[in-house]
Subunit: 200 residues, 2 copies
Amino acid sequence: MTELFSASVSPMTLPRDYRGQTCALSRSMEVVGERWTLLVLRDAFYGVRRFGEFAAHLAVPRAVLTDRLTTLVEAGVLDRRPETGTGRREVYVLTPKGIALWPAVRALTAWGEEFYAAEGGPRRVFRHVDDDAPIGPEGRCTGCGAAVPVGDVLVTPGQGLPPLAEDADPVTAALARPHRLLTPLLTTAPQRRTTRGSHP
Amino acid sequence: MTELFSASVSPMTLPRDYRGQTCALSRSMEVVGERWTLLVLRDAFYGVRRFGEFAAHLAVPRAVLTDRLTTLVEAGVLDRRPETGTGRREVYVLTPKGIALWPAVRALTAWGEEFYAAEGGPRRVFRHVDDDAPIGPEGRCTGCGAAVPVGDVLVTPGQGLPPLAEDADPVTAALARPHRLLTPLLTTAPQRRTTRGSHP
DNA sequence: GAGAACAGTTCGGTCACCGAACTGTTTTCA
DNA sequence: TGAAAACAGTTCGGTGACCGAACTGTTCTC
């Protein structure tokens, strides 16, 4: 497959290439354009870090998840590293290159909210942590007008969010409360399935 | 566009659904997340309108292109209508719902330019038609600071754009010159294969 | 030390994508 | 007017990605 690239076009071989395209969008799509990839990254922005959390929240086939995480790590979008603190488990964390995808994730999410809104309103609302005002479609706080860096974004439940199911996965349950992007969503302590969600 | 979701969780079966997801991003991905779809929409922003232009520029299998165009028309992102003026041919034009995807297309393109730049610089530069200044990653003109509506965006060749090949398709050739988004890229007059220079 | 959680891997079936060839209609030109 | 080309898809067989479920080996907790 590598021999199909001529010198004037990108010499690198990416997972599923769009041959002959001279547009930067096709480079992006080769990295983040596969099925599930942007949903994985959205969860990473939410603070999801462990393999099992991604798998449970996304309901993605585990082999596909393995492939997507590996591809994103090789592309430099995610970093795979030992969990800070106690655990020896590996976690997947956004790199600066991955964080730079935030405008794209935000724009696509905003489009979905605008044209496929649930009854009652948006499912989730991104807010500026400084003044709690919603963030507009172009990433600016509707309250203070500032361009909000991703680390200052709060993801909060909206009117259109369905009620929490009894058997909801821990990620879904955690997202029922406001949460700051890029900070770990779940406790680093392993989850015991003894009493579901009863501990503080 | 008249059809809407009737329940809190989507009851409709979209081309490739992400079941169980309560996030608006998954709704977006069900519509524009399939392979080739965003590249088709990028071309639509460039002013590509006819089936054959998409097919030649993207080098996408024609059956896949048919499927993507049909899906986008059914989703209300594109409108299929007779070509204005002389032709009786059908063309595909962005609806307001499709135009609302511009921030997403721009953000993904900017990410690709930033992290997969060609040698010498960006392949293409989006500029504000009023002052010719480049448009920043969040959609604001770096010259006058205004939020630039998509109709006032000029796509211009950059330093990293490869030289035009002899057998380049008409869309690629037309994009070697600055062009205003959303305006038809090619003449409505049918293209005769005179530039190839060879007889049958 | 037993059992559960965890992070993947393996496997067979199904479906989407791919490239090439083909069909039927419209347009152009001699 | 008639032939040839352009056009907009459709058809088809091969290949590979995706899917759900089951499985493996390691780590953690009690």
